[in-house]
Symmetry: C2
Subunit: 212 residues, 2 copies
Amino acid sequence: MTTAQHTPKLTARGAATRTRIVAAAADLVREHGAAGTSLDDVMAASRTSKSQLYHYFANKEDLLRAVAWQQTDRIVEAQRPDLDQLDSLAGLRRWRDKFVAARDGAQNVGGCPLGSLASELADGDPQTRVVLQKCFAAWASPLLIGLTAMRDQGHLRPDADPDALAEAIMAALQGGLLLSKTSRSSRPLARALDMAIDHVASFATVREAPVA
Amino acid sequence: MTTAQHTPKLTARGAATRTRIVAAAADLVREHGAAGTSLDDVMAASRTSKSQLYHYFANKEDLLRAVAWQQTDRIVEAQRPDLDQLDSLAGLRRWRDKFVAARDGAQNVGGCPLGSLASELADGDPQTRVVLQKCFAAWASPLLIGLTAMRDQGHLRPDADPDALAEAIMAALQGGLLLSKTSRSSRPLARALDMAIDHVASFATVREAPVA
DNA sequence: CGAGAACTGGACCAGCAAGTCCAGTTTTCT
DNA sequence: AGAAAACTGGACTTGCTGGTCCAGTTCTCG
């Protein structure tokens, strides 16, 4: 996807430095949250100085917007190729399984890097809120594409609304991740995603038994 | 519910002060988040001093735990009596409608006071995590009761798992609130809750048309 | 009534936060 | 080459943070 946005005039070295900053900040923010990450931390982790931070970003909020894009890129990247094969119930279930397994692999510590960021920043700067919104949309895009394909190929009834389905799945995903992080168990996430996929299945033209 | 926990020896005045502190802190945290609320802010809003804060609470984290209980109490209280009549699909839909309307009434600003707190604190102090977990359980309890009643009365098939259903609904709720807060629209919340209720309906013994 | 506990006020501290500033180096481009 | 622009280092400022401390007041209860 390469979700870059503003690039005044970057030399190779400058680009590398900027990348280094964003990568380090993304790691720290994922682990400690936006408020819990200081610019000094970012400096140390990226081996840069204050002036470099302020050379590439207007302020902390600006850096956090870049981090949001970065987290989105990472998420989408990590879920390929499954994310590109969400055009069948089997594909959805495969994706679900991988997702749940990945959370278990991380001991269900830390929720969604993007969801946490949204929870923390969506009520602040409007500019940031819009970025977060676009990040969610970017993530949901493959879902939307898959569902639309399913409907167009006649696997879903014509009255199925891919947009509504994708949004509901994302909600189940985010809520499931939040509860999973709180209870340190993948169960809420698994149940939420099962519900969401069953919901899609309820629009299928070919009946089949639910997962449960 | 009255979810109090530790009370060493409180006089009437002391209890009043403590209550004042928690109420003020809850307001501030709902609006600015836990990290965005300083003890000085709490002091000013509750007309107390540092020594009072530290007289009633061991530290900030301790105060935040009290705030979590308080938010839970407020949420549950605000949703009565609908929360006590979740023993039918009609009851669930009534609750859904009120909830969505309330979010619209608040211009969809600010997510779930409990959800935001969980997102921010669940990865920190384990003691706090457990409190958050219990808060979610307390909130979900009426849901669980209603669903269990529905099954016991034969309105849901015997293989319906009230616990799983309640958890999935809570996930949809939290995820819907997060996306709604990010997009400043109640649509994601509405879609998520519709999905969740349709999911419950899919276990109903008496068939009926879905909402959509 | 009187002693001890509950309660209160606010000065104070050490550390850390974001953001500013300037002097110096490296790269680019003509 | 040489000027402009991109880039870097880090000291410094200002304000706020959670937390400590102590001196004083009010309440409870035998």
